[in-house]
Amino acid sequence: MDTETKKTILIVEDDEFLRSLAAKRLEKEGYGIAVAVDGESALNVALETKPALILLDLLLPGRDGFEVLKQIKEDETIKTVPVVIFSNLGRAEDIEKAQKLGAVDFLIKANFTLDDLAQKVKDRLSKV
């Protein structure tokens, strides 16, 4: 196991089943997994765990993903953590808004397999 795969990935996802599948697949790659189930807790978990990458859903209970992204990018301690939007929304305006707020990528869940996700995470971390 190389050092890259020991990094922590924060998954912000309210759907329990999707969250557990994604976590299981990324754990298989050797990443440490942190989870947040809503927008309110996402920032706190990010501050506590200092993840190497954040997978962020957009439609979340309470504070939505855009607000969470904005908060992350405003926080000096975690603003450099790459945030990949991982959502089933995906209108052009959603993608544009996420990019403007500082997301490095926008993945539409349904268009990817978990193998693709694992590869994307690896590709993205290798760019950091």
Binding site: L21, K24, K28, N88, L89, G90, A92, K109, A110, N111
Partner: protein, 335 residues
């Protein structure tokens, strides 16, 4: 008295006209004089008749006529203003409905995609043996389930793209853009899929720099996504996809950029080529080999390329491959 005056007018002018008609030759000049005289006659006749009519109460009638016409005009004007206000309200309402429809389509797509993601991921994990060993029979059933989920996802995506196309057909936000950078971004997104099929996806650029091109970056990316998606879908494992970007410097044509997407895929049967850009059209060999796709991708490409003032065409040979070539002007024409 007035009646007598009128009669005298009649008599004198009739005499003038008749005399001119009888005694004068019909040269051009004389014809002109005759016409003037006839005109004068008409005026002279009309004038006293009008005076008699007015003095006999016609003035009131005129006032009545013009008065009622004025009221009618005012009514028409008011009605017109009401109609304009109504039309403006209806336009606002339609825009609101359109916006709500797009919101509804987006949210419904989201609600559909979420359980579809769960189904797709689960099939994929079991197929991969992540949850324990599977038999060959089990795998073939799982593959069918996985393909079915892919097909529904593809329909939902096309549905979203069509809605986007409809809602944004006149909303292009042109920006001078480095299209090579945009293409690189799109290609990056395809890495997992090309790796899965062991496809070589290569971007060939010319030695000289490509100038910035005035495109709508989101829509240009959609064009490239659709073209590369088709190439990936319809190229067998271990095949090659080549993307070329070139300055289109043909004399007499406006400066443009030419982007090609060539694959070593299954090609398009000759007899079906002319229907390729039609909505919902899928060629017979494509429908036989892959269950994905609803026949909207190239229709969307053509619409978006034309929205950029460009053109799209292709060369294809069945069994050997297809090359799509889009040409987009460097600068958009100012409307």
């Amino acid at each position: 008295m007035r009646a007598a005056t009128i009669i005298w007018y009649y008599v004198i002018l009739a005499m003038v006209v008749v005399t001119s008609l009888i005694f004068v030759d019909f040269s051009d000049l004389q014809r002109t004089v005759q016409l003037i005289l006839i005109l004068a006659l008409v005026l002279l006749i009309a004038n006293p008749i009008l005076m008699v009519w007015i003095s006999g109460g016609g003035e009131n009638r005129l006032r009545q006529i013009f008065g009622s016409a004025d009221v009618e005009l005012q009514n028409l004007n008011a009605e017109l203003e009401t109609q304009v206000t109504k039309l403006m309200q209806e336009t606002d309402h339609l825009q609101e409905v359109d916006k709500n429809k797009s919101e509804f389509v987006s949210m419904t797509a989201h609600q559909l995609r979420t359980p579809l993601s769960a189904i797709k991921w689960t099939f994929h994990m079991i197929m991969n043996g992540d949850l324990g060993p599977v038999t060959t029979d089990q795998r073939s059933f799982l593959e069918k389930g996985y393909e079915s989920s892919e097909k529904v996802i593809s329909v939902v995506n096309d549905w979203l793209n069509l809605d986007y196309l409809e809602a944004n057909k006149k909303k292009y936000q042109f920006v001078f853009t480095d299209i090579c950078e945009l293409i690189d971004g799109v290609v990056f997104e395809f890495n997992p899929r090309t790796r899965e099929k062991n496809l070589a996806l290569v971007v060939e650029r010319p030695k000289s720099n490509i100038p910035l091109v005035e495109v709508d970056p989101i829509k240009f990316s959609m064009i490239m996504e659709n073209l590369i998606d088709n190439a990936v879908k319809y190229t067998p494992n271990n095949g090659k996809i080549t993307i070329t970007v070139n300055d289109d410097k043909i004399n007499g044509r406006e400066p443009a950029v030419e982007v090609g997407v060539a694959d070593s895929g299954i090609g398009i049967p000759k007899a079906e080529q002319e229907r390729l850009f039609q909505q919902f059209f899928r060629s017979s060999n494509v429908a036989a080999t892959t269950p994905r796709g609803s026949g909207l991708g190239l229709f969307i490409v053509k619409n978006l390329v034309e929205g950029h003032g460009g053109t799209v065409h292709f060369e294809s040979e069945e069994g050997k491959g297809t090359k799509f070539i889009i040409t987009i002007p460097l600068k958009q024409k100012k409307v």
